[in-house]
Symmetry: C2
Subunit: 331 residues, 2 copies
């Protein structure tokens, strides 16, 4: 295991301590493994919370900030936070106007966040709603879209719901817009090498030296096919084809696209992917708004990339472009 | 070679094409492998150019923007741009007030940039000056500091000289401040795994499964020692010790610190390193200003990290905090 760490059992807590220490203007950690905005909850504003396993920086943890999340509960690497941590995140995000739980469709997260919602409703009289991201088209067919996993599309949903909450919209409105953003996202990933969970000490999967896997999940969940590594343009073609097959796009449509590294894949390769994806979208007459290329949702040092398309209307586009600020992303 | 690319010979050009296409509000590429600000040179402002090999995003290429560089010449992966490309970068950066060449101390870059300076002086009557970054303390002893290589300290020098040029300072002033920033930087790196140059197709060096190398250069240049991987806190201790041995720090000193991934090392591990580095600096009574943690100067998918400290006075601190904006960094 080639990692820079101390005791693997301290990996998450030391990472969070370092992150909050490096960016005290953005983050505070009033309760273990719950990160909130340094300024705390704003009275009268709808709160937005997320949560999930560690090992995906900046996603979950890092997107707490103005125009984004109010609080986030952090689990062990690739493991759900507890219901109690999630309940704490909700309490800390509450400004008296209710709290949206906005997170990815994973069994443990759903179970714990549902319990957390019941806890805060009973104990603290906080009204909560839920929007689940289920954007990974490789994880289930369109007919069973509710079974799909949530991946990098979450970044768009955080951004859009966060911007709407910032305007003073009420809980039902923020929930409506968050759901609309979630419904407009489609993602697909591909991986070349695995990552290692510090406490396990061995790779999450094995793959041949010359092989890639299309459709693989961010925790190494099996994908659609595994075969010899294809050229970048063919990879981009297949990713675009699969995204467009699930959500048709045509002349005049406006979208944003996120070309995301799973961690080790360098920015250079992301731009090579973006180059071809853009040519394909240009050829369809699709207009790209505010493309994102970089590391937004990772699996530590996994090699690979994901591509997310969000189909925009005027409302989503306006909220996507609204100001937002955290240590990892400024709009 | 597990990379997402097409023909390795097209790696650099396709990467640049994708980068400029993704961020047209920041970048243009009017001449092959020369990236300039989208808005072009500002009349009357001192221009700042850099240049170097590809494979280090965002450094070189990405730091073109307001409050940063005006133009950058890009070579093949880990190879110097040609003197003609550098001369083009200088011409495109010239607003009539002269141009500072601000880059890292590598033989090929120095030879070509010196030639480029002579070319534009003769052909275009453009006055140029030079500031060389030589911040890597592992690359030569303090007594031969002029032999040291330039690494991530360049990010601080770009930022500070760029902010000064933006205020309307003249060429001698921008050069003085750029040199002062360069002189105040000390860096050290450590690596766990190599990267692969696309056209070579094999790793730049070999290293054992359980081994790390302290002091390794960003192109795999040999370091100070190679041994079993140490805990993160011990690695941070040694890096801080070596930086402080070269540039003493004490109570009341103000610094900035950059904890930088060489590419594959995830943000989580950088924060674990930062956590301990900060404790050490706190214990010395040193004040940290605007710490930077992330990927600023990489070697594609190399695993490892670098640490840079810049010792600040009021002038450097003010310029470091001044606004700047490119696709990879907003201050």
């Amino acid at each position: 295991m080639k990692k820079i760490l101390n005791n693997p059992a301290d990996y998450v807590d030391e990472m969070l301590e370092g992150m909050v220490a490096a960016h005290p203007e953005y983050y505070a950690q009033p309760v273990r493994r719950v990160v909130v905005r340094a300024a705390g909850a704003r009275k009268g504003k709808v709160g937005i919370v997320s949560g999930g396993g560690s090992g995906h920086l900046p996603i979950f943890t890092g997107y707490v900030g103005k125009g984004l999340l109010d609080a986030c509960a952090i689990g062990d690497v690739f493991a759900s936070p507890s219901a109690e941590q999630m309940a704490e995140a909700i309490r800390l995000a509450d400004g008296g106007a209710g709290v949206l739980r906005l997170y990815g469709n994973y069994g443990g997260d759903v179970m714990n966040f549902d319990m957390a919602g019941e806890m805060v409703e009973m104990e603290n009289d906080i009204r909560t709603t839920t929007v689940l991201l289920a954007d990974d088209v490789a994880s289930a067919p369109a007919a069973e879209a509710q079974k799909r996993r949530g991946v990098a599309g979450m970044v768009f949903a955080y951004k859009i719901a966060g911007a709407h909450a910032e305007t003073g919209a009420d809980l039902d409105e923020v929930t409506r817009v968050g759901q609309k953003a979630a419904d407009a996202c489609r993602s697909i990933g591909m991986a070349l090498t695995p990552c290692t969970i510090p406490q396990a000490g061995k790779p999450t999967f094995e793959i041949g030296e010359g092989e890639m896997e299309m459709g693989m999940g961010i925790h190494g969940e099996p994908g659609i096919w595994r075969a010899a590594i294809k050229p970048a343009d063919e990879i981009a073609d297949e990713m675009i084809d699969r995204l467009v097959a699930d959500q048709p796009l045509g002349k005049g449509d406006r979208i944003s696209i996120l070309v995301n590294s799973l961690g080790a894949t360098p920015a250079e390769e992301l731009y090579i992917l973006y180059r071809h994806a853009r040519k394909r979208l240009d050829a369809m007459g699709v207009e790209i708004v505010m493309p994102l290329v970089g590391r937004f949702a990772t699996s530590m040092e996994m090699t690979g990339a994901t591509m997310t398309i969000i189909k925009l209307d005027g409302e989503l586009e306006g909220l996507l472009k609204a100001p937002a600020e955290c240590a990892f992303w400024k709009v």
